[in-house]
Subunit: 191 residues, 2 copies
């Protein structure tokens, strides 16, 4: 849990007293590579601190598996709408690598809302996620798939990008796998 | 301000005592069609309740004017990141029709955060906006411009869509104006 506190401190300082209350609520869970953390249609029961690994958020659109986004540890995630309303999720979450997570239930999450330093951390985190999603929307609108792929390579280490199967990366970028192969070859010859 | 209270009540009930505190902070402002409410690079000083009209959010990407989204009254808006941090905005907000707005400053916004019913309304509103942006990201990824245009027509009255200049609609959909003209003609002959 030390990693979690360090991670939270990049947003907001948590005093020792508050940390004791937060820490005792979280329980460790592990998922193996390719395991489903959440299945579309099920209720997302947990909010996670994501200590180690890589996951993807995806959903089924007219029979097609669409990758909405990736999440890289350390970070926090849940299926927001499903968790917030405790209703069936419109997305799945899949481990793309062996993952270590720390989970709390909805009731525990509500309990932590009584802690002011936690609320400030959460507000900053949610703001960051919102900015991130808005930027993604803008980028997907104004840039080509090639440019978006280059941005991905700038943002994350190549070792991490190479853990993501080509078909998921292509779906994230909104192109066919063959098109992403061509983009990769082109960039490989350019550099 | 009655319209504002009615609008808030679609999210959360505001007791009379709280409403007195909220109402007195807001000041009416009007913008004429095509006027800029916020210029990219300026600090967004206000949070707005949007009583009447239509606006677009846009930004400059490599010299090109890109329409990020539209907002239709009644709603609330601000340039979130700029307002929250009181830093220069990375987007502009333009009135596309004569608009009636009610504004509060950042300090007034902070003052209202002491009112619990207001906070619940704001949290629900921000959650709604976040879901909206995430859905837009998914739609822009998986649907064609034609399908996205059809969805827009289902979501809003045609009279409103026709108030939006073609070039802004095309930019919002991520296609050239000529492509949107072709889509319009095709749909016109289909129905």
């Amino acid at each position: 849990m030390d990693n979690f506190r360090k991670y939270i401190h990049t947003y907001h300082y948590i005093p020792d007293g508050d940390w004791c209350l937060i820490e005792k609520e979280f329980e460790q869970v592990r998922f193996r590579k390719n395991e489903m953390i959440l299945e579309e249609g099920a209720i997302c029961r947990f909010f996670y601190f994501f200590e180690k690994g890589l996951v993807r958020f995806c959903c089924n659109v007219d029979g097609e598996d669409v990758t909405k986004m990736f999440c890289v540890a350390p970070y926090c995630f849940t299926s927001k709408v499903s968790f917030r309303n405790q209703t069936p999720a419109h997305e799945s979450i899949q481990a793309l690598d062996d993952c270590i997570l720390w989970q709390i239930t909805y009731d525990q999450y509500k309990k932590l809302e009584q802690i002011n330093s936690w609320n400030i951390f959460m507000r900053k985190l949610l703001n960051e996620i919102q900015e991130f999603v808005e930027n993604r929307l803008l980028e997907s609108k104004v840039f080509t798939a090639e440019k978006n792929y280059e941005n991905l390579l700038k943002r994350y280490p190549a070792s991490l990008i190479h853990k993501i199967p080509l078909k998921y990366l292509a779906s994230f970028l909104g192109v066919a796998p063959q098109s992403l192969s061509r983009i990769r070859n082109k960039l490989h010859h350019k550099h």
